[in-house]
């Protein structure tokens, strides 16, 4: 085996990633209605409803929840919605379906790491959602300048974005893992829906984690969803500092390592079990 083999394999994976990205982009835009509903509108309605809920709760000007007054809460909800859109979600992968119905079989005879194709989906998701969010922020800050969140500093914005990207990768790995369970289980979509609900709560999409009881908030700070949505939101608004950012990076990297190892293990075990059902 030559010493250049790993680097050429990496170069091949990167080239394939580029093509897979373009392929996924074509797939996601193949249906205009599907694109508008799934890609543009996803994750927008819940925070919009929560704005009205908080309007009722924080009716007086001095009312606070965990240090958030109403304008800060609105800014936080806009940030949470934007960050949640960037996070990879359960409907982004149809791997479980492919395993159940035997379509994944075809990839097993190809000279390709299946994960690279899935990564193409992840890259497409980030690209599309970043564009959507950029458009949303441009329109939103023009129409609602008094409510739209402003970054405490340029570095706070960069740090927040970095945490969201790492968090999104964690979410992608969790989606992949839940899908791979289809090698063993028939209840993957139920598990996926449950995971999504837990994720929304732990990420602080509806209620900022810092506004939750301290014991619960302390526990959630060890989980990656908090560092993917709630913490970046507070970093952006200047409610958390660089020290917290560093902690967030460490927690997220630890999660990525653990999830990557689990993914590799489950994928290999799953393939050994695979019978290509129905194919």
């Amino acid at each position: 085996m030559s010493a250049t083999a790993p680097s050429s394999a990496l170069a091949r994976d990167l080239r394939l990633l580029g093509v897979a990205f373009a392929f996924e982009l074509r797939k996601v835009t193949a249906w205009r209605a599907g694109f508008v509903v799934r890609e543009l509108m996803r994750s927008l309605w819940r925070p919009l409803v929560m704005i009205f809920v908080y309007r009722a709760i924080l009716a007086t000007s001095d009312a606070r929840i965990g240090g958030f007054d109403f304008p800060t809460m609105v800014a936080y909800l806009i940030l949470a919605a934007s960050f949640e859109k960037l996070l990879f979600h359960q409907r982004g992968l149809d791997l479980a379906d492919q395993i159940f119905q035997g379509y994944v079989t075809k990839y097993l005879t190809m000279p390709v790491r299946f994960f690279v194709l899935a990564l193409g989906r992840f890259a497409q998701h980030l690209a599309v959602q970043s564009s959507v969010i950029a458009g949303l922020w441009a329109v939103g800050s023009l129409l609602f300048p008094q409510w739209w969140p402003r970054a405490a500093s340029a570095s706070a914005a960069v740090e927040a974005f970095a945490l969201v990207l790492l968090g999104s990768y964690c979410a992608f790995l969790v989606c992949f893992l839940v899908n791979v369970l289809a090698f063993w289980l028939e209840v993957v979509w139920t598990l996926s829906a449950m995971a999504s609900f837990v994720f929304s709560f732990a990420a602080g999409v509806l209620v900022p984690v810092s506004a939750m009881p301290e014991s619960l908030a302390g526990a959630l700070r060890w989980l990656f969803p908090y560092w993917a949505v709630s913490a970046p939101g507070e970093l952006f608004l200047g409610r958390l500092g660089t020290q917290e950012f560093v902690r967030g990076v460490c927690v997220l990297l630890s999660w990525i390592v653990a999830l990557e190892l689990t993914r590799e293990f489950l994928w290999r075990r799953g393939l050994h079990r695979h019978v290509g059902a129905g194919a």
Partner: protein, 337 residues
């Protein structure tokens, strides 16, 4: 031509499954005490496939055809014995080996439903590292030969079943593989599409020496493309040999198909003993069609026999069709076992 590309030695594949007891009581028992059983999908398979062969793999549903393809192509590991391709364990094929093989599942599309086939082909080009110029040339040539050159830009879901399958075939051959597995590629296709696909496969097998393993329930597919036949039954190889050899076994018999007038009396079980002295057998009896297998020397005596008993609209005498030969093999083995 002599190089062995695929080799199975005593290969077996067993699946573990649990028996689902019926009823509500069975449901509760299943929760706490499962009764596991092992199903042998393949047993003691001995098989060698050489470069350039066109092999037909046939058998009833559940005979193990697709499982055999999966084991030999590395999709699933064998439970016992060995399955090797290109000299390597099939389940541990490296990328350079996988570049030399291809698989088409007749009921599982390789191409993306919502996109034109050309988009999926471009992804395949990258996966198999096909140089751009080769890709364009091969694509154009295959699309023209299969008559779908003007359909490449059309969304796959808007193509007919036959056109979709032709696209699958194009995708399978784009990287010029050495071995191609085709699992029921003509299922549900019309006559013209089937013929086009068969002709293309035969041409490419002859021109490039591609080894092709074809499973099909359509005996015409097998007869018009394959030179060697492997018959599977309950996970075991029942017959492995040349199609010509197989036909020669029953060369001394003829298939006589009798089409009756609507007013004619039909087949009666009382006629059975009358067939025995002639060495004839009734193979199939439909209301207005009877199919007999008759020894060649007895044909002269058999024809008057049927004319005496039935009002006949038409009658044909032919060598045994392949499906009848195969049915006989099954019957002989059942009788022998």
């Amino acid at each position: 031509m002599n190089e062995v590309l695929i080799e199975m030695r005593g290969a077996g594949k067993r699946f573990r499954t649990w028996k689902r007891r019926e009823g509500l009581g069975g449901f509760f028992v299943n929760l706490f005490a499962r009764e596991w059983t092992e199903v042998a999908a393949l047993e003691g398979i001995e098989l060698e496939i050489r470069r350039g062969e066109f092999l037909g793999l046939i058998g009833a549903n559940g005979a193990g055809k697709t499982t055999l393809l999966k084991c030999v192509s590395g999709i699933t590991p064998v439970s016992s014995g060995s399955a090797r391709m290109f000299g390597c364990d099939s389940f541990a094929l490296r990328d350079e080996h996988k570049r030399r093989l291809s698989m088409v599942m007749g009921q599982r599309s390789q191409l993306w439903w919502d996109l034109p086939a050309i988009d999926s082909f471009r992804l395949l080009r990258e996966i198999y590292s096909v140089p751009r110029s080769d890709f364009e040339l091969r694509l154009r040539e295959a699309a023209e030969r299969l008559g779908v050159a003007d359909k490449l830009q059309r969304q796959l879901r808007n193509l007919s079943l036959g056109e979709r399958m032709k696209m699958e075939i194009i995708g399978a051959f784009l990287h010029e593989p050495d071995v191609v597995f085709l699992d029921e590629p003509t299922i549900g296709l019309d006559l013209v599409s089937r013929e086009t696909i068969r002709r293309y496969l035969v041409e490419i097998n002859r021109a490039r020496g591609v080894t092709i393993v074809l499973t099909s329930h359509d005996m015409e597919d097998i007869e018009e493309t394959c030179r060697r036949l492997v018959i599977l039954r309950q996970g075991r190889v029942l017959f492995d040999g040349g199609l010509v050899d197989l036909k020669a076994r029953t060369y001394e018999r003829r298939a006589i198909e009798v089409h009756l007038e609507p007013s004619s009396p039909g087949w009666d079980a009382a006629f059975e003993p009358l067939l025995e002295p002639l060495g004839a057998r009734l193979e199939r009896a439909a209301p207005l069609t009877l199919l007999f297998s008759v020894p060649a020397p007895a044909v002269q005596r058999f024809v008057p026999f049927v004319f005496e008993r039935f009002a006949i609209r038409d009658l044909s005498i032919e060598h045994h069709p392949l499906d009848m030969i195969i049915r006989q093999i099954f019957q002989q083995r059942e009788g022998g076992s």
